[in-house]
Symmetry: C2
Subunit: 337 residues, 2 copies
């Protein structure tokens, strides 16, 4: 990809409910952000909305854009560049990178959203300096990202690191969206699971701040549960603890499987901080083997909800500089490089 | 480790019930084997028995031995060479390599037994030519081995790849031996689980070949269940199918997490072959994501029950040739190299 100059790049993180995009400078500072709801759009509308968001940023940034990086919650086949399956989005078998490169007339790289997040955290965030970093992003679903021996690990054809779809309860509830599985970690430790837990718990204890907030018409969401938990609401705290303990089972598995130096928890739900991580660590320490359980640190993402966006931008920067970024680069006006 | 000549090496595979050791030539042919029961020995007796077995082989082989490789079912701390925790053996916090190097007056390398098995299968067996190989060894417990990007993956300090202790049923039965966990894959898909399933099933159906065999005084073991299943006994077949389906949940997790090219099933239980693998594949295909589930092949180990022993020998050969074999080399008469 010689010929693409370095400069500003755009990172786009597409989640199950919202898109977050920003222009990112060489110092990782975000110079322009945009944020759009995703829910309810079909594939064509989604592609249109994403293109609009990127064009809005291109217009706002008074500098050339070298490349655009996308983190999207899909499994990929890197051999073809196809986004094969998404649990929470209407994407199926779409050559997303090629479509976007044509649409935007810019070089485009696409990776799984949680792969982008772990790249950001391992290079510049909570996993800085560690060679073995495992990350879970807790949002609508649960994404997984791996940095092994210092490099993002994507598996044979690029579809690995789906730790959110690791079964922790074989006879458990059906997983959400397009995942055919049941009892996945995602079904018990995601933002959706948090809302479900709080909803069940508040029905039993309506005379609580959370109960009163719902009565007053507030919508039950992850951020709202975290806000009330921070104010001491017992139902909200209890729901976060239930999800934290379920998360701990997943962390025990990851400690046993990867013996990582650091486990990073990102995504919207990680805003609950120690209310979530304390019970998760407790369960991990009860269940995992030695020395794995004692070797690992469990921390929240330093870049918080922006890790995916900034990681996508880092990937775009690698591609723009002509370095092997581990994923396929789509160029406008011709077949992918 | 310059100065250690190439030549014959000895591979030792230590399981929860038996030790298998052999001298292995450069062509991977095993020139002398020995096989000893392990059950019921304490740590000191076990070390003595292992040293005796290796010395028996040294005496039988009319050639110099360059090094001895051990595969043992423990978690390791490669920083210190300490075998930290074993689920099925009385090893805890023992510098096993240093102890054996002194005892045998030979260079010694030690690795997890399933790491040895996957090394053997990836270099010379079912995973030949594949860069991403995930292996489970189904015996008394379940060992896990990973070859990622062509190299054995051991995690940060060497204690990774414990996929047998991946929880698949969070509220399931307590795991066996020294594992503090519950609902581990090992508790539902190991040889021990197979014996338990068959034992429960035959109590309900005593008028079957398996029931009659037990009545005639035969002991209920994994090999005996496989033998009767091959002869068509419905209880034995049913038990293998139950274990195969439980294994399939684990394989779905591994397909989602690693997106491997090949999943290799080894250890004694893999002698059940397609009776085990067919239901396992079926469940994996029902549960795993695309394209992961379609990309992976699930096969039995080509080296069967000898994969661990030969892999330990391969490791010893690497060390003897002075190449970095990824684990610590213990030399007699001085601190580890």
């Amino acid at each position: 990809m010689a010929g693409v100059a370095e400069g500003h790049v755009i990172g786009v993180d597409l989640g199950g409910t919202k898109l977050l995009a920003g222009a990112v400078g060489a110092d990782l500072a975000v110079v322009h952000r945009t944020n759009r709801p995703v829910y309810g759009l079909d594939q064509q509308e989604l592609v249109q909305m994403i293109a609009d968001a990127v064009e809005e940023i291109c217009t706002a940034v008074d500098a050339p854009i070298a490349a655009v990086g996308f983190g999207i919650p899909c499994t990929f086949d890197l051999r073809t560049g196809i986004a094969v399956q998404a649990a929470h989005l209407p994407f199926r078998d779409i050559a997303f990178g090629d479509v976007m490169a044509e649409r935007l007339a810019l070089p485009v790289v696409v990776d799984n959203d949680a792969n982008c997040a772990v790249l950001c955290e391992a290079r510049a965030g909570a996993g800085r300096g560690a060679s073995e970093v495992v990350m879970l992003t807790l949002g609508t679903g649960i994404g997984g990202g791996l940095v092994l021996r210092g490099e993002v690990y994507r598996g044979w054809i690029g579809a690995g690191a789906e730790m959110g779809h690791m079964v922790v309860d074989a006879d458990g509830r059906p997983c959400v969206g397009n995942c055919p599985n049941r009892g996945c970690l995602e079904s018990v430790a995601s933002g959706s699971a948090l809302v479900r837990e709080a909803s069940l718990a508040v029905a039993r204890r309506p005379d609580t701040p959370l109960g009163h907030a719902l009565e007053a018409g507030r919508e039950l969401t992850g951020p709202m549960i975290t806000e009330l938990a921070n104010e001491g609401d017992p139902v909200a705290r209890g729901a976060i603890e239930v999800v934290g303990r379920a998360l701990g089972v997943g962390l025990a598995n990851l400690a046993n499987i990867f013996n990582p130096q650091i486990l990073v928890i990102g995504g919207g739900v990680s805003a609950a901080g120690e209310l979530l991580l304390e019970p998760a660590r407790e369960v991990m320490l009860e269940r995992a083997l030695a020395p794995n359980k004692d070797a690992v640190r469990v921390v929240t993402a330093e870049f918080g909800a922006e890790a995916g966006m900034i990681g996508a931008a880092l990937l775009a920067r690698e591609a723009a500089a002509g370095r092997d970024c581990g994923v396929r680069v789509s160029l406008p006006g011709r077949a992918a490089a």
